[in-house]
């Protein structure tokens, strides 16, 4: 019985048989229906729970820090422990990948499977946005499934590319080699750019290549062969691609090729050493190598 009920005239509502609170406004009275038992008990339980929680876990801010809680639990310690536990479960296989010389991994089916699994996860998380989820590449980002390599398809080449990136200035060992902007910097006239582009397209056997001007071949040999080779096969030490094949990083239409010769430059890939640990990079190397084009 609340004070209200003692002070006010409490009566039983004749229709519902429930007592009223005694409050009455403009002839409307308030019923005093008791709360369901289960609700009252649940409420009491949450109060008890919250008190226990405050004692066991960090809770109340004080003057110099928060109460620590009896368990001494911290989210930052917990995550470190969780990761350590995870590494422990993975350790047997990660240790094997770590300790095996990289060129033996592919010969051991168990290790290969493990390296590919670790590599694939890391690839989807870090590389797929550029190289595509299936490593199929996109304009400006090379396909890693084929055997056409800009910087070399041996395990050691691939590892260097991943560790140090390509034209990634923040890494002093990064792969470098940049095509001059022949058109923009006036090394060739627009007419010459067009001629040498036609020559390249003819040598690449593109079906819609125009019959090249004889000048095109000379322009090529004078300006392009240093990097792309007289045979057009390219040069992996400067990342110059094979031009006389069917694989194009930026497209094979004349506009794309003219644009390349006008603008020069080259694609940029970040360096992953430091960002990813060595075992992950090793697994990624094996993953990329085993996609189909490894040499």
């Amino acid at each position: 019985m609340s004070i209200d009920q003692q002070v006010n005239k409490v009566r039983i509502d004749p229709l519902s048989g429930v007592p009223t609170t005694g409050h009455e406004w403009d002839g409307i009275e308030e019923l005093n229906t008791p709360l369901p038992r289960w609700w009252v008990w649940t409420f009491a339980a949450t109060v008890v729970w919250s008190i226990a929680y405050c004692i066991v876990y960090p809770a109340w801010p004080l003057l110099h820090g928060a109460t620590e809680g009896l368990l001494g639990w911290h989210s930052r310690t917990a995550v470190v422990q969780d990761i350590a536990a995870l590494q422990e479960t993975r350790a047997p296989i990660l240790e094997k990948i770590k300790n095996a010389p990289i060129d033996t991994i592919e010969k051991n089916p168990e290790l290969l499977l493990a390296a590919r699994t670790v590599g694939r996860v890391a690839f989807l998380n870090n590389c797929a946005a550029c190289h595509g989820a299936g490593a199929q590449g996109a304009k400006g980002y090379p396909n890693l499934n084929d055997d056409d390599w800009l910087w070399g398809g041996k395990l050691s080449d691939i590892r260097t590319t991943i560790e140090h990136g390509v034209r990634w200035d923040a890494d002093k060992d990064t792969r470098s080699g940049t095509m001059p902007a022949f058109g923009r910097d006036g090394l060739l006239t627009p007419q010459q750019v067009s001629e040498v582009a036609d020559w390249v397209r003819t040598m690449a056997d593109l079906p819609d290549a125009l019959a090249p001007e004889p000048a095109g071949e000379k322009l090529y040999n004078d300006n392009c062969a240093v990097c792309h080779g007289a045979d057009g096969k390219g040069n992996q030490s400067v990342g110059a691609p094979n031009l006389f094949d069917a694989i194009w990083l930026y497209g094979s239409d004349k506009g794309a090729i003219v644009n390349r010769i006008m603008q020069g430059g080259g694609g940029v890939m970040p360096a992953w050493k430091g960002r990813l640990d060595d075992t992950t990079i090793k697994a990624l190397t094996v993953y990329a190598h085993s996609l189909g084009g490894g040499q």
């Binding site: 005239k9 005694g22 009455e24 109340w60 930052r76 310690t77 995550v79 996109a138 970040p270 960002r275």
Partner: protein, 250 residues
Amino acid sequence: MSNATHHAPPSGLQKLIETNSMMLVLGILLMVSVGGLVEIVPLFYLKNTIEKVDGVRPYTPLELAGFNIYVREGCYTCHSQMIRPLRDEVERYGHYSLAAESMYDHPFQWGSKRNGPDLARVGGKYSNDWQRDHLRDPRSVVPSSIMPGYPFLSKTLLNGEHLAEQMRVLRIVGVPYSDDQIDNAVADLAAQASSDDAGGPDVQKRYPNAVLGDVAGKTSVTEEDALIAYLQHLGVSVDFKLYDDKANIR
């Protein structure tokens, strides 16, 4: 209240509150603010809520302009900048976020929704080329992306008119911009956007580890340039090889 004489109305505090709507409002405000006060006020005086770390510096003018565009475009509606101390997040994104890493963000961009990935450590993950491709047309690089394209950013010249004023205001709320930094805001803005501007080294002197643009001889700075400079700075300030996890357990 015609029949009030039949039943005595409630008395004391209850009567005061139930018969006086302003008192009811005040009472509600008082109750609700207790929760807020207990959670928020300690953050102002507890020193241990922000870790002491090396390397976090105020944004350069170009990065700050990028921050403004990030807020204006509502990137936070799809992206968080808060790697929680949970195993799976640390595995995917890297070291969990520290409060110190966002101490100069006003307002902070922790976010609460992840339609896209967390961006707290996206700095240096991709090249500027990729960021440009992706902002102009996300599906050109990630075919299944649901992120909207922002091609207009590359066509909109950056308006840096109010940056110095913004820096002055930020200084009032505790971002340690120096007079030198504020006076040179406009010059630094242009200098950082180019790879070869004469003022580049000055920017890097005023803002350690500032990364210059990747295009030589830039004559105009776009909103896209600023946004990319900001994105490339996310999460790269603290060197976690030198950071002692145990020093900041709490």
